[in-house]
Structures are given as C-alpha cells and as structure tokens.
Symmetry: C2
Amino acid sequence: MTNRQWVLASHPKAAADESTWRLTQAPRPKPGPGQILIRTQWLSVDPYMRGRISPSANYTKGVQIGEVMQGGGVGEVVETNHPAWKVGDIAESMDVGWQEWSVLTPDLPGASRVNKVDTAVAPAQASLSWLGMTGLTAYVGLLDIGRPRPGDTVVVSAASGAVGQIVGQIAKLAGCRVVGIAGSDDKLAWCRNIGFDATINYKTEGDMAAAVAAQCPSGVNVFFDNTGGSIHDAVLKNLAVAARVVICGRIALANNFDQEDTGLRASSRLIVTRATIQGLVVFDWWHRREEALARLAAWHRSGAIQIREDVVEGFERIPHAFIRMMAGQNFGKQLVRLEGG
Amino acid sequence: MTNRQWVLASHPKAAADESTWRLTQAPRPKPGPGQILIRTQWLSVDPYMRGRISPSANYTKGVQIGEVMQGGGVGEVVETNHPAWKVGDIAESMDVGWQEWSVLTPDLPGASRVNKVDTAVAPAQASLSWLGMTGLTAYVGLLDIGRPRPGDTVVVSAASGAVGQIVGQIAKLAGCRVVGIAGSDDKLAWCRNIGFDATINYKTEGDMAAAVAAQCPSGVNVFFDNTGGSIHDAVLKNLAVAARVVICGRIALANNFDQEDTGLRASSRLIVTRATIQGLVVFDWWHRREEALARLAAWHRSGAIQIREDVVEGFERIPHAFIRMMAGQNFGKQLVRLEGG
C-alpha cells in the first residue's frame, strides 16, 4: 500500500544527474470527491522539464525541493469518484508526476486536464507522444507559427527527436522541402527514410552556416528550432525573405540553463529578411488539440507519418531516461514503461 | 548648367566619415519621355543609408563606388515631359540622390514612386519625415507589427529620433504607457514634453536591464527597437508574456556594420514569454501609405503629434549631416536644406 516517488533533491547547476532526484515512498493516496486514482503505466520525459527544476523564472511554477517531480503520464484507473470515469479506463494527464500511483482531478481545465485514452486508436503511450502534447507541439508550431507554404524550405533541428520527427513529416505533407539537423548518422539516415529531403550532422560539420547554405540554396523559409545555441545561429544566417522561426526548445543549452545565453543577435538578419521569430509553449495551444490529434491519427493510420519511440524500462530508471534524453542519447520520443505498462 | 553630386568614394570600414563621399560635377541632366527634371530643395539622411554604402548583402542593391549617393529628396519641377506634372509642382521621391538636379520617372512603381507634395497641408520637407517614409515606418511598425493594446507598456529606443518620436506619440493615442530611451537629458525632457510617460538615459544608467525593469514593472508589451546592441538586450530581458518586438534599426552598431553582431540570444526569453520578434523594412509597406499619411496629417493638424526637425544647411554639408545623425548628435529628424529649399 505504498507509493514510490521521485522527489527533487537539488536544483542542478548544469545538467541534471542522478543526484538531482531522490527516491522516496509515501502511502498510496486516496481519491477525494470528483477525483480518480490511477496506477502509472507510462511516463514521458521531455526537455521542458529542465525548466521545471531550475530556480530561474520560467513560464510556470517549478518543482520545489522535496516535491514529487512533475511529468505527464498514462495509467489505469483503479478507483473512481467521478461519474465519467470507471475502473479500467486509461487516463493521460500532465499532472501524473514521477510516482507509481497518482490522484487526478478530471474536471480541472487547461494543462491539468485529464484525457481518456482510446487504446483502439493507438497504444496508450502514444497519448504521451505523437497523439498528445508532443504531436500538438509539432502541429501548432509548424502550421500555426511556421505557416509553411508549398515549395518552402523547412529546417528542423533535433530532427529525429520527439517533436522534430513529426514536424519534418507534416512539413512534407504541406509540400515543403525538409532539411533535418541531428547529431548522428544513424538518426539522419532514419530521417531520410521517413521523408526528409536532406540532412546535416552538426557533430561532423566544420562550418554549420556553410552546411545549411549548401542544403538550402534558396534560403530557409521556416526554421523549427528545438536546440538553440550555435545550430540556431547557423540557420539564422541563412534565412530567406519573410522567413518564420519557431523557437520550441534550446536543448543545446541544457548544461548552461540558468546562464546568460550569448551568440548571434538576430536583429540585422531580421531587418534584411523581414523575418519573424516567435516562441512556442504548447500549454498555450490546448484549443488546437482536437484538430491536431484527429489529423495526426489519420496521418498515422494512412502511414503518412511514422513514429520512433525510445523506451526505458522501470520506475527506478526515470532519472536515467531524462538524463540520457537531455544528452541526446535517445533516438526518438523518450518514454519510460512502468510495471503494467 | 552643371549638376553638383556627392558620389561614393569608398565603402567605410566602420562609421562613415568625410572621406566616404567625393564632391563631383556633371552636366545638368535632361528629362526623357515621361520624365521630369527637379531642382533639389531638401534631402533626407537616414540610418538605412548605412546599409546602402556597405559591401555586405542587404535588402536592396547598394551604391557602387563612383555612383551618386542614394537618398530621398524633395524638389521643384523645372522641366516636364509627363502630362500629370507641370513646372512649379513639388515632387518627393526616394530616387532623388545627393545631387542638385535630378531626373525622375513618375510612372515607376513601389519605392521609386514620385509623390506630388501639397504644401498647403505641410511644408515640403514634411514629405521626407513625418508625412512620408519616416511617418509610414513609425505607423506600420507600431500598429501593424507591434499591435499595441490600451494599457500596454511600449518601449521605444532612439525615442527622440525621426521614427521614435512618432512611434511614442502614436502609442499614446493607442492608450499605451510609453517609455523612451535616448542618450541625452535634453532629448528625454523633450520626449516627456510630447507625452512620453517615462524615459531612460542609456548613457548615464549603469544597469540598463534594471532601469527598464524599474520603468516597466509589468514588463514590456511592445518594444520598438531603433538601436539594437546592448539596449536591445536590456529590453529583451524585460519582455512581458506575448510581447511584440519590432526590429526597425540598429544604429548602435553603425560602427560595426559589417561585423558579426553578438550579444544576448533571444531564444530563452521567447520561450518563457511566447513573444514575437519581427524585422521591418518600410519599403514593404507602401500599400499602407495612404491610410498612414492621412491619419498622421490629421493628428498633426489637431496637435496630437508634434514633430522636431534638425536642419543642416547647404549641399556641401550633406555628408556632415549624415555623419552627425549616425553619431546621435541630431535632435529630431535630420534634414538638409539646399538653396531654394
């Protein structure tokens, strides 16, 4: 009748490591009125979590020392005080956290919403990746902010990652030429297999700005940036007139998360190209979720988008899964399977 | 029967100086079919011209060594081969150049258009400033790109400059709180006189980011940036959620125009705030000219916007006027009056 939990032990100074969290246990919780209890089956680890364990100001409240680590997950309902939920239903929510048992409140709005998962459509864990927050991020980031036109050249950094792989495939559906950037030839070969037109290995290219120029001879119309840092600078130098830049992540800076980020200022490129740069936080975009997930499901069903997942096994290994993902050692969407998942 | 001209003598390595141009003379030109000949009365010198004398790629073709310096001007028609123009009309065009006599082609489209100036509405030189390109820049930059809402805090750099002074006053009309940044207490006192709510002297403030924070306690909703550089960085650190940043100029970097511009990368601020940064080149916005100038004229007539001009006298002193403007020694819109202006 216990509930194992990973709680925050310290705010990391650079990258998170095994000492960042501490394994504890608490009594298994009871759902209150209008609540449900789930047994966690799958957890998602994502780069946004680096912000949640930083003491710096961010777009939402972070995890305090001693609190259960935040994170989205999927589980089976084992107890219910809510009329719309029955035992055996599968629930997905951003509010699960790194714990074996979790009490959820289905009627909360916005980012705390609890979604019922239909495993006839896709396996439960898809609701944590392409059929959930990750897919929504790619969909609205590319289509609502990036606004691709047929014939555009779209560059995606962290191209084989959870978001990048979906962005690239939607961009192909939108009639674009897609160039992916990643850090291993294996990842890039897979990107080409799923339809990317060209790829750049940032670890082996000496001059990234020249490499982008070579792959994008008419300039970059849409840049979907998951990395920040020097890759960001190299693509900015190659923007086309009226380009759109989507700032989705900055995983390249994970080890310097709380330090000032210096590099190329965008201003002169923006004047010359009249380009637009916009930041994306998916939690602003829940109103687009229904359309996005319906289309992603249809595209997946027809084979138009393919998904690669990277699964780490076991509750004990959640921090490991996060750490390897932040270091770029994952290949595709990073998930953790718990017992029963 | 001669035409004195300032031609480009060399591409400046840093700031332009007196050796950048050379005074020559040519025969007074004759208008061809469909053309008019004007005698130049007023010339405008503007920061965008620094890009025109750079060998770097920019948004339009630059001035080659030995060519007449490009620039907007106003003059009286002295000879006409165009049915819509008669001798004595006043013409304004971006194609006048730094010369005493200029042949214009009224039927050219876009940035080469020739506008008939109605001196009953405002003095002829207004068509080079608030009732012309400068006013249009402020109008579309603030309203179309900045999209201010009543209650927004709007920050304007180079606040007393040609564009900045108009931006600040339109922002007041839009119901905003306006904070101006400039480099002298005289300039800032004048900004407050025309309605700015608060001002910051970037030359005397030790910590600009803290100064912006102090003047913008709810953050910056709209940043109209004419300077770039460290002022740009300081304001970026204070963006509010969903802020809009208009990149209009980067005069702070005039001495390093062709060098890589490094400083704060915007990415992390953009993710935290979901802000948008967009570059502005006024030559994209001629389709908004009629509305903009009609409203600016009405606002000026009613006293809602006031304009400060800084006039340098004499054809010989055009380079001097440009150089002092780029060094921030002007106070208001920099103009040059020629004989007959």
